[in-house]
């Protein structure tokens, strides 16, 4: 077995820069070999993904796991067929073997390649990009992380929770993109997500209530963990879980709802983010992740929502989990600055390499991601956000416009059909709104709806003072499943006549 490139200097006595230079050498070697063998195009992602997962449960630190995966993936286009080989190795022997294996795969699928793969030219770029980060989370001593999470759990229990689990997830991707056209792009991005869930028990009544944290994952460093207010939120959450235990059950039926961005981000993700992915609309995900009710002929025609609704894609929001300089096809981030929905009208799909020409467009808008260097890059979401109202509108203004409704906070249980039409979302906290004012907490609520009627029922939109960027580390798609991080920003928003479900009784 040949020695492999190890990116961190402590692993092999070489400097970080020397290790990085070796990545370029491996890429040059593989891409040249692929072209010599007849590939019309080839690209490669090489590098390391570091992760950390720490978990505290009550007074016990259960898990502290540092993870590192080195690897690469080589994609070749031969006679209109993709071939791909990926390995969690970074050495010359494996990379050269990959060229042969990827080409062999392209030849293997030729009998079922009725429609040749065609890719567009993207700008050739040689550059580097690094996500701005404060304190490197991987440099923080393990004991400090343990103390932080045990402090969160203690704060929850001191405030009345029976149980509390607190976790920290962190990731860093250091990745070189290289293609046969000459692009060489080295990028580094870091993300962190501290979370908790608290439980309050009423054994006498055989009832319990939970409250999960609202703090979102961020493309940021350890300083954002310390400043996110998780300890204070844990104490508040414990009290809210206790209140939830004794809250009155929600009355099911159609109600006006004001949805907090801590909940609305997930609804945006499921109903808009996934429905406007071009690979779904083309049927490429029909066997698993699903298709979409949005079709190419609906571009510029479909009234997706009310005129208040503008949905913006970007790769530039500070702290965004999809914020990056270039996507995993090598398309620049500027391509991913576009409007998916403009004043209610559907304007753009999200696209990766080789898709735009299928709907008569010139090139990708920068929406590719591979969840590890050794995964095949596919279309994934950039940051996708609901633009806030340009006119002044506070949360109180939105609530003030509701006679009898609910205010929904935090994401709960979720489900949506494979074409992204019929959905059901829970939440962490539900409050009554009576005569324009916030009322009592209620329990056992969820809202159910259909995507287009729901977004066309949007009649109140908060301004930037109500805006909040949330998101997830774990959006799943494709076969084999790939997991992508993504952020969604939103202001608070008001929707009329939404169907409310009582989950304890299963009633609508």
């Amino acid at each position: 077995m040949a020695p492999q490139v190890l990116l961190r200097p402590q692993d092999a006595g070489q400097s970080h820069m020397e290790a990085r230079a070796r990545l370029y050498d491996l890429a040059d070697m593989a891409l040249a070999a692929a072209r010599r063998a007849g590939a019309a195009y080839a690209d490669m992602r090489l590098g390391e993904t570091r992760r950390e997962f720490v978990k505290a449960r009550e007074d016990r630190l259960e898990t502290f796991d540092e993870r590192s995966n080195l690897g690469f993936g080589l994609r070749v286009l031969l006679d209109g067929c993709w071939g791909f080989y990926g390995a969690r190795r970074l050495d010359a022997e494996t990379v050269l073997e990959a060229v042969e294996r990827a080409l062999a795969n392209a030849r293997a699928v030729r009998p079922i390649q009725a429609r040749p793969i065609v890719v567009e030219d993207l700008p050739v770029v040689e550059t580097a990009w690094a996500m701005p980060m404060g304190v490197d989370p991987f440099a923080v001593p393990p004991g400090a992380k343990a103390d932080f999470l045990l402090g969160v759990a203690a704060a929850a229990r001191d405030a009345g929770a029976d149980f509390c689990t607190a976790t920290l997830s962190a990731a860093r991707e250091e990745r070189l993109f290289a293609n046969s056209a000459g692009s060489r792009i080295f990028q580094t991005r870091t993300r962190v997500h501290p979370q908790f869930d608290v439980t309050a028990i009423d054994k006498a009544r055989g009832r319990y209530a939970t409250r999960e944290s609202l703090v979102p994952g961020r493309g940021a460093g350890w300083d954002s963990v310390l400043s996110c207010g998780l300890v204070e939120e844990a104490a508040r959450a414990a009290q809210e879980a206790r209140r939830k235990l004794h809250a009155k059950p929600v009355t099911p039926g159609p109600r006006d709802v004001v949805i907090d961005p801590t909940n609305l981000w997930l609804t945006i993700h499921e109903t808009i983010g996934h429905s406007t992915e071009l690979d779904r609309a083309l049927g490429w995900e029909a066997n698993f992740a699903g298709t979409s009710f949005v079709k190419p002929h609906m571009l510029d025609r479909l009234q997706f929502g009310s005129e208040l609704m503008t949905i913006v894609a970007d790769r530039s929001q500070p702290g965004g989990l999809s914020t990056i300089g270039f996507d995993d096809d090598g398309a620049p981030a500027q391509a991913a600055e576009f409007r998916i929905i403009e004043k209610g009208t559907f304007r753009n799909f999200q696209m990766a390499l080789g898709q735009a020409h299928l709907i008569g467009l010139p090139q990708s808008n920068g929406c590719a991601y591979a969840d590890s260097p050794s995964s095949f890059p596919i279309q994934r979401m950039p940051n996708i956000s609901l633009a806030p109202n340009e006119n002044r509108c506070s949360l109180a203004d939105l609530i003030g416009g509701v006679e009898d409704g609910l205010y929904v906070v935090g994401a709960g249980s979720w489900s949506i059909d494979q074409q992204r039409d019929n959905f059901q979302f829970g939440g962490q906290l539900f409050y009554e709104i009576k005569n324009g004012a916030l009322g009592e907490m209620v329990r056992d609520a969820a809202y159910q709806g259909r995507t287009l009627p729901f977004w066309n029922a949007l009649d109140g939109l908060g301004d930037k003072t109500t805006y909040h960027l949330a998101g997830t580390f774990g959006c799943g798609k494709a076969e084999p499943v790939q997991v992508a991080p993504v952020s969604h920003g939103a202001p608070a928003a008001r929707f009329r006549g939404v169907t409310i479900l009582n989950t304890a009784r299963g009633e609508v």
């Binding site: 259960e62 796991d65 590192s68 990827a102 795969n105 055989g206 319990y208 049927g283 009710f293 159910q448």
Partner: protein, 444 residues
Amino acid sequence: MFLSADEVKAVTDRLLARCAADACEIHISGGEEQSLRFARASATTNMTTAEVTLRISAHVGGRVGTVTTSALEPAALAAALARAEEIARMLPVDPEYVAPLGPQDYALSNRYDESTGRLALEALAQAAATIIAEGGRRGVDTFGCASSGRRFEALATSNGLFAYDRRSEIELSTTARNRADDWSGWAGGSEHRADRLDVGELARRACDKAAYQQAPVDLEPGRYTVIFEPAAASELARWVLNSLDSRAAEEGRSFFSKKDGGVKQGERLFSESFTLRSGPDDPLSPEGAIGWEGVPHRPRVWIEKGVVQTFYRSRAYAQRTGAEAVPHPRSFTMAGGGLSVDEMVAGVKRGVLVTRLWYTNMVDPRSLLLTGLTRDGNFLIEDGRIVAPARNLRFNEPLGEMFSRILALGAPQRCWRPLGAGGVAAAPPMMVEGFTFSSKSSGV
């Protein structure tokens, strides 16, 4: 990267010899996998991957630090081990510390077939070609995924444990959609041996479901007699199995918690025909040898004739409560009965036949209220026969009640699972009464 038991042992022996901690545990897994996808009768993506992952846990003074790496070089592994020890020393003492296991008695695993593990991508492309050809004959578009590979898993500890297990796998699933794009059908299967997967039969089944000329009908939400095909039944049963967490039940946050603090073990909670088993000896869905935390998987009855028999339990919680550590089951079989789907349909006045489910999620763990949708092959049954395709529906159903209303079961069948799922399942077709559909979905 697929490693033999000898190759793994060479790595673990070398690392354990370097261990300066009180104790050490090394988990190694890896393998080779290939897959291809196709849509509208044309290839879209494919990949071959090779990977290995080492999880090194160092135990120092009742604290455990873990480092996971994909590197195999001795210098990199030595650095990972040293880092795990360093982490452990910086952590607070674990009040529920559990030492690594010593030697265990593992069951023989019979999930490996060399020829299946070494299938080339050409074989998967040939399977896809068979499906595409069937779709062409039937006038429907076909979409799908085929994957195969072989994986190993091993565990070694400084207390003398060494265990190694391996498996080969192949899975194939396909969705067929009519040319009007308003109806679909699905079929899928997964096996440890490729010769047990009948590609032609899967293709026919998916195309049969999709090739309806008749426009789908809308059904009103409400309570229906429903026949779930095995893929759907296994998904519902897995939610119940996953809820059998001893700690959650004893802490009062589970369907299986009693009001006074006890657990509902030994009580009849479900229909007498509802039985869930698992084990390495299971002929349809064999469990692996090595369970979570290294605890051996044994033949276990989780629910027998509607009565809960067994809960799963971590080693730390078992130590605290003085109970047996029981690993969470990754594979299982739901026991069946004697009726075929056709015989069930013949007995239904008005109901729905469901092929598979989508996006199921727990809404309320207290009642096991599950939501989700039907997908790729919903059919209206009237007067004992299938009369029309029926558009998809969302359900909200308490599983505790649903598994108490089983009317009939068929023979269990091995069900489709993706390669990366880490477990398989077998379930019978199942007919239940009074299943609650709560809203319509246009999703096809």
